[in-house]
Symmetry: C2
Subunit: 284 residues, 2 copies
Amino acid sequence: MSYLERVRALQAWEPSAYRPFTVDHRRVGLIHRDFIPQLADFGAVLQISDAEVTLTPELGDAASRSAAMAEVLAELRSRDLIPGWRNEPYAVCEDWGTPPLFQMERAAVPLFGTLGYGVHLNGFVHDGDRLKMWVGKRSMTKPTGPGKLDQLVAGGLPAGIGVMDNLIKECVEEAGIPEGIARRAQPIGAMSYCTERPEGLRRDVLFNYDLELPADFQPHNTDGEVEEFYLWSMDQVMDTVRESEDFKFNCGVVVIDFLIRRGFIGPDHSDYLEIQRGLHTALR
Amino acid sequence: MSYLERVRALQAWEPSAYRPFTVDHRRVGLIHRDFIPQLADFGAVLQISDAEVTLTPELGDAASRSAAMAEVLAELRSRDLIPGWRNEPYAVCEDWGTPPLFQMERAAVPLFGTLGYGVHLNGFVHDGDRLKMWVGKRSMTKPTGPGKLDQLVAGGLPAGIGVMDNLIKECVEEAGIPEGIARRAQPIGAMSYCTERPEGLRRDVLFNYDLELPADFQPHNTDGEVEEFYLWSMDQVMDTVRESEDFKFNCGVVVIDFLIRRGFIGPDHSDYLEIQRGLHTALR
């Protein structure tokens, strides 16, 4: 088992199994060939050809697209084709920073292969010269990765809220971190990946943050999404990431990025370059 | 002018102008079509075909390859075809971490398009809540980037010395940083890029480090490679990287990576993802 295996798992998908999903001539997603037949009933909204699935050009603005897709998704949900419904609208765009073309329920994102966004916070504590890292155990009721290990705080990024504002909200809800401390969180980079998961194709951008916490801080969850928190030595964190799949697939890789940036994985590691290359896939 | 322009400059090269340079069936370099005719006199060492330039398979081990190439390079140098001779052997390999196939003078590396390696150190100081960064001005006698701005310490990585050992050596020589302080330097990641420069094709791997220096530390150069040091506010560093080409092409990008990791460039920057993707080109 190795760090590189964890990173490579973020790149595991079969491009030939997908057809582009386009809106206004822009490719915003990728739909698996097995899911396309389920969309055949919605010809007024989704035009299916051998080359692509297109949102009908008659829907010329974000509001009408969002409304039409909401009806399609509600019907698919009633047919049990969209598990893990969240009631969370996600912006659909070509790339981060490009204008949103419409909004769509988060649970549908991996089925249409549109971009997913998350914020992840590495929470750590100084213990003398050494670092310790806070690890959360996800609730068994989470739709993705139930019971898996996670960062101290992590969450999806719904449409219409800033990255830092969302992080602060999640800090309070997930770990009881007061806003005054949460505001010290430092953005340290983003990662992007495209990979097949049980819920569909994850084309994700994660905005990652580091936050040093006071030694006497004890996190407590308020929204039922975290079962337990552990304060682990870096050795235990490293062994767990490397030797097990206990961390949720993307959370383990957020840890690996922390290990690179803090020198726990150094230039003498034979996979040093390849690990870093694997964290920044272009989502085109 | 923008940070992204600096990063994109690291990806500026025309693949169709190059032929692979192979050794023992491994592609170790890329040679520009304009340089290939200069190699026609050395048929006993370099076999030229339409598809590639190959080191003759009769040279079956690293020592004999290094010796044969040394003779070729000495002759090319005497014909004024290799400027900036360094007397520094570089390991030639397929990728970082793969076994060296032979050694070759550093000045020839961009002409054969083999991998170049460097170590770069971001030296910074806390000034209250704020950071300041040490910036070096390269000597006018340097073969590459004379007079350009640089990290506090940076150097090439010759064959046979560890990355950290080389960094410590450079810290002492370039900036008078005592070994006891230099050892606190923390590896924070590597970058890789392929770009055309006046000296040839730079396919480089840079091992980057951060080092916080005591507020009263004053760098002093001992090897003649640095003309002057400046302790700049981060605003001055950022403006200079963004608005000018005063930093050497790769040193400016090492700064940009620092700005991302320390939150000076955050998720609200429209080029946030693209900047990071551009720092980790696969050198295949």
